[in-house]
Amino acid sequence: MSADDYSQKGPAVGERFPDLRLADQTGAPVDLHAARQGRQALVVFYRSARW
């Protein structure tokens, strides 16, 4: 299988994940680090909910 690792892109291991604040599916604003409440988190970027 061809290499599919683009690991240079995006925040690096060892770096603090940048702050972000986006609306969720209810329209409510979500501040990622605040919403984590000191827990570990898995942040997944997927292609689309529409296609």
Partner: protein, 271 residues
């Protein structure tokens, strides 16, 4: 949605899940309702965050050349499918970024890659016994979509007093290997086995690298063709077992792993 399948496993580990895309809140609301999504779907409409983080897919045209499809206007802004595991201080401890949007993980694959865990729901297990080994295997997902990364998880239990060969291996001996019968559109990657350990036999100058006890490995797979239906993957595990003073002839066990195709939803959802 694959992520919903592992929310239980994540919650058990105290890990919070966030999923982000360039969809509008409206799209996400409809999707969450239809799919019964219980975790936050964040809307990065306009791809501002995606661009800031450096994961905007700028190679859509070359990806589409690979699939033989034209790029639609509404596809610009999509992110490279990526996953970041953050520790309790919000530091990235693990990450994975895929080269194009077609490649996606199963929930189980994600759990394994990012957390080293095994998802509670995987494909049917097959078992086969050889003379001094017992092999169990399963696909980490009972179903597949094309361009979804799957994995065969294999466990070889070697009877006490025996060992099987890994690599590097002296000529004439047969190392542990896995082969999957070819299937049209199936890409099989290199198996990953634990590191074997060194073994010296009295009176022999050669050094052997062997596995003993329970040996757990995996084989990555991906179907790259749509519409090939359900399959029974035929898998061969080859090995050679020796005790301190006898070598058995090379042997193999064979088993089948079923996997069902889930129709991919590729066209834009109807309004």
């Amino acid at each position: 949605m694959e992520l919903q399948k592992i929310t239980g496993d994540l919650a058990a580990k105290g890990i919070v899940l966030f999923a982000i895309s360039y969809d509008s809140v409206e799209t996400l609301a409809g999707f969450a309702a239809r799919q019964g999504i219980t975790y936050p779907l964040l809307s990065d409409e306009g791809s501002r965050v995606i661009k800031e983080l450096g994961i905007l897919d700028e190679h859509l045209d070359s990806h589409h050349a690979e699939f033989g499809r034209p790029t639609r206007d509404d596809q610009w802004g999509v992110a490279y499918p990526s996953v970041f595991l953050l520790d309790s201080d919000g530091i990235v401890v693990r990450k994975r970024v895929h080269r194009n949007y077609r490649i996606r993980d199963t929930g189980a694959g994600l759990l394994e890659d990012m957390l080293g865990g095994t998802a509670s729901a995987h494909g049917a297990e097959a078992a086969a016994d050889g003379q001094v080994v017992r092999v169990r295997a399963y696909l980490d997902s009972p179903s597949y979509r094309w361009y979804q990364r799957l994995r065969i998880v294999i466990e070889v239990a070697v009877q006490e007093g025996y060992h099987i060969y890994g690599t590097p291996i002296p000529e004439g001996y047969v190392p542990l290997s896995v082969a999957v019968d070819p299937v049209d559109g199936l890409e099989v990657g290199e198996p990953a086995w634990p590191r074997p350990h060194r073994f010296r036999v009295n009176g022999l100058a050669e050094e052997f690298w062997v596995h003993e006890g329970i040996v757990r490995g995996s084989v990555p797979l991906m179907f790259t063709k749509d519409g090939t239906g359900d399959h029974r993957l035929r898998v061969d595990v080859r090995y050679q077992a020796c005790s301190a003073n006898t070598c058995l002839p090379p042997a193999q066990v064979r088993f089948e792993l079923p996997v069902q195709e889930v129709a991919a939803v590729d066209a834009p959802a109807k309004q």
